[in-house]
C-alpha cells in the first residue's frame, strides 16, 4: 500500500461511513441493513489486515501516521527559562498511528467486530438504531488503540461509552436499563477521573501527545505526592474498565443483560482498553514509579484471578460463569504488566488478544444456545451435544482454550505472564496465582460439561444445530485461536521492538 493512502484514517472512518449509509436506509429494509452491517466491518478488517501486512517490525516508533486538525487553543503555559507564563498555541490534532503494542489489538478488534456483526444476523428488533450504535461503538474501538494524543484517546473512549449504553439499554434483557445505568455511572466516573489526570498531565508537560508526555514526565520536577496520586488515580480510572476487583460490579450486569453480539465486543474488546491504558499510560508515563508499585498491581491481579475463579465456580448461569471468567483472566493481564519484563508484558498483550478471541467465541456460542433453548441456566441445560453437536463441540473447544490448553492461544499467554512474574521480585504472588489456573480448569469444565453432556431436557429435544452461516464466525475465531497457539510469532514479532522500547524506560 502506498504511503500516501491514509490507511488508519480509513480504518477509523469506515464505520462512520457505515453510520451515514444506515441513516439513509429506511428502517423496514431489514435485509439491506444486515448486509451493510457485516460489509462495513469486513472492509474495516481488510484495512486492519493491510496495516498488519505493511507494518515495519524493526521499528518501535508509531507508524503509518495520519493526522488532521481537531482544534487548537492558546493556553498560558509556564516557561521555566524566563520564569513566567507565556501564551502558547496548543493544537490538538486527530493523530492516529500504530505501533507494536496497538497492532495486535487493532487486528483483534477488527476481527471480533466483524464476527460479532455476523452474529447479529439473528437480531430482528429496531435494526436501524442497532447498527447506528454498533457502528458508533466501532468508531470508538477502532480509534482508541490508534490515538496518539490524550484528548483523541478520551474522545474515542467516550464514544464507546455512549454507544454501549444505548446498545445495552435498548437491546438488552430484562434488567437492561439498570445494567446500562450502572455501566454509565461507573465508567463515566472512570473516564472522567482519567480526563482529570490527563488535564493535570497537560498542565505539567504542556502537551497532549502521548510520546511527548512519556518523554517529559519522568524528567519533570514534580511533587512526588502529586505524582503518586496521579499514578493511582490512573490505575483506578483504568481499573474500572479492566475491571479490577472492587470496581467490577457493573461489568457483571452488562454481561448478564446485553445482547450476545454486544457482549462479544464488550468482553472481547472493551475490557482490553483498560489493559491497553495500563501499559500505555501507567507504565509508559510513570516508568520510575512502576518498580515500586508493581507488587501492589500483582496483588490486585491475584485478587482478580482468585475471586473471579472461585465466584465462577458457583454460578448457576453460563453468562455469569463467563463473566467471572473474564474477571479472572484480566488478573493475568495485571500479572504480566506487574512483571515488568519482556516475558510478562508479552504475556499481557497475548492475554489481551487471546482472551478477546476466546471470550468472543464463548459469548457467540452462548448467544446461539440461548436463542435455541431460551435459557442460559446450567441446571436447565444438559445433553446439548446430542442435539447440537457443532455448537457443543465448539463450546468445549472454547472452554479448553480458556483454561489454557497447550497449543491454543490461552496457554501461550498465561505461560508467558506467569513466567514473567516468577522471574520478577513478586514471584510469591505468582506462586499463589497457580491456584487460579487450577480453579479455572475446574469452573470451565463444570459449566461446559454439565451443559453439553448429561441428560437432555425434554423441552430441548427439538432444537437444531448451527446453520451454515452461523458456523463461519465460530470457525474463524477458533482458527485464530489455534493460529496464535501454534505460531505465536504472528503477534510476538511485531510486538518486540515496542516492548523493548517501553521496558527500556523502566527503572528510574
Amino acid at each position: 500500500m502506498p504511503e500516501v493512502f491514509p490507511l488508519l484514517a480509513a480504518f477509523v472512518l469506515t464505520p462512520v461511513i457505515g453510520m451515514l449509509v444506515v441513516a439513509f436506509v429506511p428502517s423496514r429494509e431489514g435485509g439491506l441493513l444486515k448486509t451493510i452491517g457485516w460489509v462495513i466491518p469486513a472492509v474495516a478488517f481488510v484495512f486492519a489486515a493491510y496495516a498488519y501486512a505493511h507494518f515495519n517490525i524493526q521499528s518501535a516508533e508509531p507508524q503509518m501516521k495520519a493526522s488532521w486538525p481537531l482544534f487548537s487553543f492558546t493556553f498560558p503555559l509556564y516557561d521555566p527559562s524566563i520564569n513566567a507564563f507565556t501564551f502558547t498555541d496548543v493544537s490538538v490534532p486527530v493523530a492516529l498511528a500504530v505501533d507494536g503494542l496497538s497492532l495486535p489489538l487493532v487486528l483483534m478488534t477488527a476481527l471480533v467486530t466483524f464476527m460479532s456483526a455476523l452474529a447479529v444476523q439473528s437480531e430482528t428488533r429496531r435494526l436501524k438504531a442497532f447498527f447506528l450504535f454498533l457502528f458508533l461503538l466501532s468508531v470508538g474501538m477502532n480509534g482508541v488503540f490508534l490515538a496518539q494524543n490524550l484528548i483523541v484517546f478520551f474522545v474515542f473512549f467516550e464514544l464507546t461509552l455512549v454507544a454501549l449504553y444505548f446498545l445495552t439499554a435498548i437491546f438488552g434483557g430484562f434488567g437492561r436499563e439498570k445494567a446500562a445505568t450502572a455501566f454509565l455511572v461507573m465508567n463515566g466516573l472512570g473516564s472522567l477521573v482519567m480526563l482529570f489526570v490527563f488535564v493535570v498531565l497537560f498542565q505539567l508537560t504542556g502537551t497532549w501527545e502521548m510520546r511527548g508526555i512519556a518523554e517529559k514526565l519522568p524528567l519533570a520536577a514534580i511533587d512526588p505526592t502529586l505524582k503518586r496520586t496521579l499514578f493511582w488515580l490512573l490505575v483506578i480510572a483504568l481499573g474500572v474498565k479492566l475491571p479490577i476487583f472492587p470496581l467490577h460490579t457493573w461489568m457483571l450486569k452488562v454481561h448478564r443483560e446485553a445482547p450476545p453480539a454486544v457482549v462479544m465486543l464488550h468482553s472481547g474488546v472493551l475490557l482490553k482498553i483498560g489493559a491497553y491504558g495500563l501499559i500505555r499510560f501507567v507504565l509508559g508515563f510513570f516508568p520510575d514509579l512502576m518498580p515500586q508499585y508493581a507488587p501492589a498491581l500483582a496483588l490486585l491481579g491475584l485478587v482478580n484471578l482468585l475471586y473471579g475463579g472461585f465466584a465462577a465456580f458457583v454460578q448457576p448461569d453460563l453468562r455469569r460463569v463467563f463473566a467471572y471468567a473474564s474477571l479472572s483472566h484480566m488478573g493475568i493481564v495485571l500479572f504480566g504488566v506487574a512483571a515488568l519484563n519482556t516475558y510478562g508484558l508479552m504475556g499481557a498483550v497475548f492475554q489481551m488478544v487471546s482472551h478477546g478471541l476466546i471470550s468472543a467465541l464463548l459469548f457467540l456460542l452462548l448467544g446461539m444456545i440461548e436463542r435455541r433453548t431460551g435459557t442460559s441456566r446450567i441446571d436447565e441445560l444438559g445433553g446439548l451435544a446430542r442435539v447440537m453437536p457443532t455448537i457443543a463441540g465448539m463450546l468445549l473447544f472454547a472452554a479448553l482454550a480458556n483454561l489454557g490448553l497447550p497449543a491454543l492461544s490461552g496457554f501461550i499467554a498465561e505461560f508467558q505472564a506467569f513466567l514473567g512474574l516468577f522471574l520478577s521480585p513478586s514471584w510469591p504472588i505468582a506462586a499463589c496465582g497457580l491456584v487460579g489456573l487450577g480453579i479455572s480448569a475446574a469452573y470451565m469444565l463444570r459449566a461446559v460439561l454439565r451443559t453439553t453432556f448429561g441428560p437432555l431436557g425434554a423441552e430441548h429435544a427439538e432444537v437444531s444445530d448451527a446453520r451454515p452461516l452461523e458456523v463461519v464466525p465460530m470457525f474463524v475465531l477458533a482458527a485464530a485461536i489455534i493460529l496464535i497457539g501454534v505460531y505465536p510469532n504472528v503477534l510476538a514479532v511485531p510486538l518486540q521492538a515496542t516492548l523493548y522500547d517501553v521496558l527500556g524506560r523502566i527503572g528510574g
Binding site: S91, L159, A169, E177, L184, L189, L195, V200
Partner: protein
C-alpha cells in the same frame, strides 16, 4: 463618539412600542401575534449595532456606562437568548398565558432583556442595581403570567419574596462598599481600595461588602445559597419564561458577578503585615470555591429525584451555575473566555431542550418524565436533536459542552483548584444519570401514542438554530474560542496580563 447606547435604546423603544401596540389592539388575536413578531424584530435589529460595536472600548455617561468586550459578549448572549425565547413564547401561546396578555408578555421579555443588558454595560453600582431591578421585576411578572394557574401564582409569589431578600442583601453590601470608598464607580472602588493603608483599616468591612454583593448577585445565577426558589419557579412559570430564567437571566447574573469581582475587588493588593502582601482574589477564593462546590453537589444530587422535567432543569441549572463559578474561584488568564464559552454552550442546549419540553408539554398536558416516552417514534429528528443537547449538557466529548467543561477543567487545574476540578468530574457523572433518564424515555420506553408529533414553526426554528449552534461549537471549538477572544478581547480588559496574576 460611537452610539454606544444604541442597542439598549432599540430594545427599550421596541419594548415600549410592543406594549403600546398591545394596548391599542387588545383582544385581537392577529394583533397579539403581531406584537410578538414586533418584539422579535426588535431583538434582531438590536443585534446589528451590537455586532457593529465589536472592538469598541468606550465609556459614556460619566463612566457609568461602559462598552467593552465583556459587555458586548454578554449583550450578544442575552439578545440571542431572548430572541430564541421569544420564538418559543410566540408558539407557546396556549401554555396557559391568557391571550390578551400576549403583548405584555413580549414587552416584559424585552424589558427583562434590557435589564440584563444594562447589567452587562454598567460600570457604576447604581446603574448595576437599576439593571438588576429591571430584570428582576420584569421576571416576577413574567413568572406569574399564567394568572389563573395556581402553580404559576405560587411561583411568582416565591420568586418575589426570595428576590426581595436577595435584593436587600445586595443593597446592604452596596451601602458598605459605597460608604467606605465614597464612590459608586466600580473601577473607582477598586482604586480607592488599593490606596495605601485603606485595606489595613477597612479590610474586614470591605470583605463583608463583597460577600453581600456577590451572594446577592448569586441569586440571579440560582446558585447556592439562593437556589431554593428555582425548582418551584421553574415548574410554575410558562415554559418560555423558564427558558428565559435558565439562560438569559443566568447570563445576566454572571455578567454582574464578573464585573463586580474583576472590576472592583479581585486585583486589590495590600500589605497585611510588614512584607506580607495579600491580594483580594486569593483571600476570597476559598469562599467562592465553597459556594461553587456546594452548587455542583446540591444541584446534581437533588436533580436525581426530580420527576418533573422542569424541576429537573431547575436543579440542573443550579449545578451549571456551580460549574460557571469555578473560573471565578480558580482565577486564571482565560477565565472570562471559559465562562462565556460555557454559557454559550449551555444556552444553546438549554433553549433547544426547553423548546422540546414546551411542545411535548402542550401535547401531553404534563411535564412528567413519562410525557417524553416514545418521542423517538413520534419525532425521530427531534429525538436526535435532543440527544445532542443532552450530550452537550452532560459534557460528552465532541459536543460543545465537552469543550466548555474541558476549558473550565483546564482553568481549575491552572488555578490550582484540584478539589473543584475533581468535584466537576464527579458531579458531571451524577448528572449523566438524570440526563440519560430523559433519553431513556425518549429512545426506549414505548409511548401511549405513536401519533407523529408536529412541531410548530417557532419551536422547530429554535431547535434547528440550537442544533446548528451546538454543532458549530462542537466541530470548531478552537475557531469559536479564537473568534471570541479576538472579537471581545475579554482577557485584556481586566489587565489580567499586566502582571496582576
Amino acid at each position: 463618539m460611537n452610539a454606544i447606547w444604541l442597542p439598549e435604546v432599540i430594545v427599550l423603544a421596541g419594548a415600549i412600542g410592543t406594549l403600546a401596540f398591545g394596548l391599542a389592539a387588545r383582544r385581537s388575536k392577529a394583533m397579539s401575534d403581531l406584537a410578538m413578531t414586533l418584539a422579535l424584530i426588535t431583538v434582531v435589529v438590536a443585534l446589528l449595532p451590537t455586532v457593529g460595536l465589536i472592538g469598541t472600548v468606550e465609556e459614556g455617561f460619566a463612566g457609568a456606562f461602559r462598552i467593552d468586550g465583556l459587555t458586548l459578549a454578554f449583550h450578544l448572549l442575552i439578545l440571542i437568548g431572548t430572541g430564541l425565547v421569544l420564538l418559543i413564547a410566540r408558539d407557546g401561546r396556549s401554555d396557559g398565558v391568557p391571550p390578551q396578555y400576549l403583548a405584555e408578555y413580549a414587552a416584559l421579555l424585552l424589558f427583562a432583556a434590557l435589564g440584563g443588558m444594562l447589567i452587562a454595560a454598567a460600570a457604576d453600582l447604581l446603574l448595576l442595581f437599576l439593571g438588576l431591578e429591571l430584570l428582576s421585576i420584569s421576571s416576577y411578572v413574567l413568572v406569574g403570567l399564567k394568572k389563573t394557574h395556581l402553580g404559576s401564582t405560587e411561583a411568582a409569589m416565591k420568586y418575589v419574596l426570595t428576590g426581595a431578600t436577595a435584593t436587600a442583601v445586595f443593597a446592604f453590601g452596596m451601602s458598605y462598599a459605597i460608604g467606605l470608598t465614597g464612590t459608586t464607580d466600580v473601577y473607582q472602588i477598586g482604586q480607592t481600595m488599593a490606596d495605601a493603608g485603606f485595606m489595613a483599616r477597612y479590610g474586614r468591612l470591605l470583605f463583608v461588602a463583597f460577600f453581600f454583593l456577590i451572594v446577592g448577585a448569586f441569586y440571579k445565577l440560582a446558585s447556592v445559597p439562593f437556589y431554593m426558589w428555582a425548582p418551584d419557579v421553574y415548574q410554575g412559570a410558562p415554559t418560555a419564561v423558564t427558558a428565559f430564567l435558565a439562560t438569559v437571566s443566568k447570563a445576566s447574573g454572571m455578567a454582574l458577578v464578573v464585573r463586580l469581582f474583576l472590576g472592583s475587588f479581585a486585583w486589590v493588593a495590600w500589605e497585611a503585615q510588614p512584607n506580607v502582601i495579600k491580594n483580594f482574589w486569593s483571600e476570597s477564593t476559598p469562599y467562592i470555591a465553597a459556594l461553587s462546590a456546594l452548587s455542583m453537589i446540591v444541584g446534581n444530587v437533588l436533580a436525581l429525584k426530580a420527576r418533573d422535567v422542569k424541576r429537573m432543569f431547575a436543579y440542573s441549572s443550579v449545578a451549571h451555575a456551580g460549574y460557571l463559578i469555578i473560573p471565578l474561584a480558580a482565577v486564571n488568564p482565560m477565565m472570562i473566555d471559559q465562562i462565556v464559552f460555557y454559557l454559550l454552550a449551555y444556552l444553546l442546549a438549554n433553549v433547544g431542550i426547553f423548546a422540546v419540553i414546551d411542545q411535548v408539554g402542550r401535547d401531553r398536558g404534563s411535564y412528567d418524565l413519562s410525557a417524553f416516552s416514545g418521542l423517538y417514534h413520534r419525532a425521530p429528528l427531534v429525538a436526535w436533536a435532543l440527544l445532542l443537547f443532552f450530550l452537550s449538557l452532560a459534557g460528552i466529548p465532541l459536543t460543545m459542552g465537552f469543550f466548555g467543561k474541558l476549558n473550565i477543567l483546564l482553568g481549575a487545574v491552572w488555578g490550582g483548584h484540584f478539589v473543584l476540578a475533581g468535584l466537576l468530574v464527579v458531579t458531571s457523572v451524577i448528572s449523566y444519570v438524570y440526563y440519560f433518564a430523559v433519553l431513556k424515555q425518549v429512545f426506549m420506553r414505548p409511548g401511549t401514542t405513536e401519533r407523529p408529533l408536529a412541531f410548530s414553526f417557532g419551536t422547530a426554528t429554535v431547535i434547528a438554530l440550537a442544533v446548528l449552534g451546538t454543532l458549530l461549537g462542537s466541530l470548531f471549538p478552537g475557531e469559536v474560542m479564537r473568534t471570541m477572544q479576538q472579537a471581545f478581547d475579554a482577557v485584556q480588559m481586566f489587565g489580567i496580563y499586566q502582571g496582576r496574576l
